[in-house]
């Protein structure tokens, strides 16, 4: 839905269709901004997102889909990975490397770093997509100064609550950080750290990855030790850590919506006309 243009300024020209810009970015990072005429941003976005993916593929030898056990290797298995945010690269990856050579082989020493980078590339492109959609929609002069919505959401992805902190909503950001990181730590404790392994929990890892830096730092600090004993609450821990990551999506949406609301002056949940009039009368 386009944001209403009440004060048309120099930015008021119709740049392009937001949905087309988003879809183009999904296929090729930066293509949406190229379509909107923002060449510099497009080139930087392409270089960063595809650079991360390429580096990740080089470090992991393109083997991340080989984490999946044989019974889970379907045509659409990659659709639930973070890499799907960079669809063009993922499709090329599947075509080029697929599920490997058909028999198990040792992972390269840099496998974990590589798969983290390909996942990061996919998530980063989601923010470029949301930025393309917003840039195409936002054709009015900003009502107030505020951090760009996609940047605010990206900050919240990096550290839960950080986008809210940048928006000067410190209390809200602190509560989000404490609750989500607390839930994640509880999950890691219950699972004995077994949740921090993409090879062991391919899809749960994807949900947990949405927690950003805390999840990545915890994984690299803990390493990927072999299981020495049965972990009683491993399943509960894996689920809780994944839920913490998925709840961070709500925090990212909150950061995005707040910035958009501040810039446009349009409330997130507009009240029905009759209701707001009634409240004014009562006041």
């Amino acid at each position: 839905m386009p944001i209403p243009t009440e004060k048309p300024g120099p930015k008021a020209a119709n740049l392009g269709d937001p949905n087309v810009a988003t879809l183009l970015t999904w296929l090729v990072p930066g293509a949406g901004h190229l379509y909107l005429g923002r060449v510099k941003f497009a080139l930087v976005a392409f270089a960063v997102v595809e650079g991360l993916y390429l580096l990740g593929v080089l470090l992991s030898h393109g083997m991340f889909l080989e984490y999946l056990p044989a019974e889970m290797r379907s045509r659409f298995a990659g659709a639930l990975t973070p890499e799907v945010g960079n669809l063009g690269a993922l499709l090329f990856h599947v075509k080029q490397y697929g599920y490997g050579v058909g028999h198990p082989r040792p992972w390269p020493a840099t496998m974990d770093m590589g798969t983290t980078l390909t996942a990061l590339s996919g998530i980063l492109n989601l923010f470029v997509m949301s930025r393309a959609h917003f840039d195409a929609r936002f054709t009015m002069e900003p009502r107030a100064k505020a951090i760009d919505p996609a940047t605010a959401a990206l900050a919240t992805f990096c550290v839960p609550g950080f986008g809210q902190f940048l928006q000067k909503r410190t209390g809200r950001g602190a509560v989000m950080f404490i609750l989500l990181v607390g839930l994640f730590v509880l999950g890691c404790w219950l699972a004995g750290g077994t949740n921090l392994d993409r090879e062991r929990h391919f899809y749960y890892w994807a949900g947990q990855f949405l927690l950003g830096a805390p999840a990545v730092i915890a994984e690299f600090l803990h390493g990927h030790p072999l299981l020495q004993a049965d972990v009683e609450y491993a399943d509960a821990g894996v689920v809780l850590a994944c839920v913490a990551g998925m709840l961070n999506v709500l925090c990212m949406l909150d950061a995005f919506a707040y910035s958009e609301e501040t810039l446009s002056g349009v409330p997130r949940h507009p009240q029905p006309e009759g209701e707001s009039e009634a409240k004014e009368v009562l006041a």
């Binding site: 989000m176 609750l179 607390g182 509880l186 509960a236 809780l240 709840l247 925090c251 609301e261 949940h269």
Partner: protein, 69 residues
């Protein structure tokens, strides 16, 4: 039932986080979020309690029936 208090504690912890984050998402204003939070927590836990009761009733009735003897 093994470790029932621990399971309930885990459920309360995760449920509180889920409801609180959801409230912060749906209420942009901190004041209104704080106002609605207790009600939402109550609804969530009361709803989950009701589902648990129904499941226990089903478990103690239908599950004990031997169909076709």
């Amino acid at each position: 039932m093994k470790d029932l208090p621990f399971h309930i504690l885990l459920f309360l912890a995760s449920g509180t986080v889920i409801v609180t984050i959801s409230v912060m998402f749906s209420e942009a204003d901190d004041g209104s979020a704080l106002r609605v939070l207790p009600k939402r927590l109550l609804y969530f836990f009361a709803g989950c309690g009701a589902v648990a009761v129904v499941m226990l009733i089903c478990e103690h009735t239908f599950a004990s029936i031997h169909w076709g003897g």
